[in-house]
């Protein structure tokens, strides 16, 4: 993944928060993450990537951020089930929107949601994992992109 491709994901994350909440997320400088030390928050939505690229994209956020996002969207049910659902939907939306740049051969799976900040997400061996840190309403979350040409 080159810098221009990474910028695509940065731009998609910014657009997502701005569109859904009216307030853009503050996106920090992306960095190369150590596979054993990748950020994990309360809920993590993982999308498998295949086709022209291989790897995974995941969005991880604390419950507090997800609750706030649901309430802002007019959703009154902020149960754990809906927090998990939202995490998967955000991961799916960001990955799906990336097809605008990567094309229809950038195939995305349905989301798998992992609960608990003590979990570990295994990224594909030999594929670099870039961490895109973000803050929204002073709450930190992260998008991790571990994708390479197939």
């Amino acid at each position: 993944m080159d810098e221009a491709q990474l910028k695509v994901f940065v731009s998609i994350v910014q657009h997502y928060f701005e569109k859904v909440t009216g307030k853009a997320a503050e996106v920090g400088t992306p960095f190369l993450g150590e596979p054993t030390e990748l950020p994990i928050h309360d809920f993590t939505g993982v999308i498998g990537i295949s086709g022209s690229q291989r790897g995974c994209v995941y969005f991880s956020a604390p419950g507090q951020m997800l609750k706030e996002l649901l309430l802002r969207a007019g959703e009154t049910d902020v149960s754990e089930g809906n927090l998990a659902d939202l995490t998967g939907e955000i991961a799916n939306t960001i990955s799906g929107n990336a097809r605008r740049e990567f094309g229809s051969e950038f195939l995305i799976s349905v989301p798998v949601v992992v609960r608990g900040s003590g979990q570990h997400i295994t990224v594909p061996k030999g594929v670099k994992a870039y961490v895109i840190p973000l803050r929204w309403h002073k709450i930190a979350a992260a998008l991790v992109v571990s994708v390479a040409k197939a």
Partner: protein, 126 residues
């Protein structure tokens, strides 16, 4: 005037709720909520909606396959694809399979209302 019947297919509960909230206020009668293409197809057969909103990335049966199966049963139902797959190729394929509209995720309730409004206007004109 009879309210038009709407079926919503999306694997996300919160997206189904958002669409139901937004379009329920526009005089559409929600006849079913489906979490995948297979459920949507079964609900379609029993409820015979006038309009469908269809996600594409869903488990068990994806949206494109579901549109194809529904089109084989009914040529008149109006289908709006609501999907994060925002490349042109996917939109063209969905339209070729029989959808009449395509709305990118993320979307606002106003954008959804406009997209459904256009779809229904085309029906009444033609």
């Amino acid at each position: 005037m009879t309210a038009r019947k709407l079926l919503i297919a999306d694997d996300s509960n919160i997206v189904r709720s958002k669409i139901a909230r937004a379009l329920g206020q526009h005089g559409l009668h929600i006849v079913g909520l489906a979490a995948n293409g297979r459920e949507a197809l079964e609900l379609f057969k029993t409820t015979r909606p006038d309009v469908l909103t269809m996600d594409l990335t869903m488990p068990e049966m994806d949206g494109i396959e579901c549109i194809r199966a529904i089109r084989a049963l009914d040529s008149k139902v109006r289908i709006l694809v609501v999907s994060a797959l925002s490349d042109k190729g996917t939109a063209i394929q969905a339209l070729k399979e029989g959808a009449q509209g395509f709305l990118d995720k993320p979307f606002t309730e106003a954008e959804l209302s406009d997209a459904i409004g256009e779809l229904l206007e085309e029906t009444s004109h033609g």
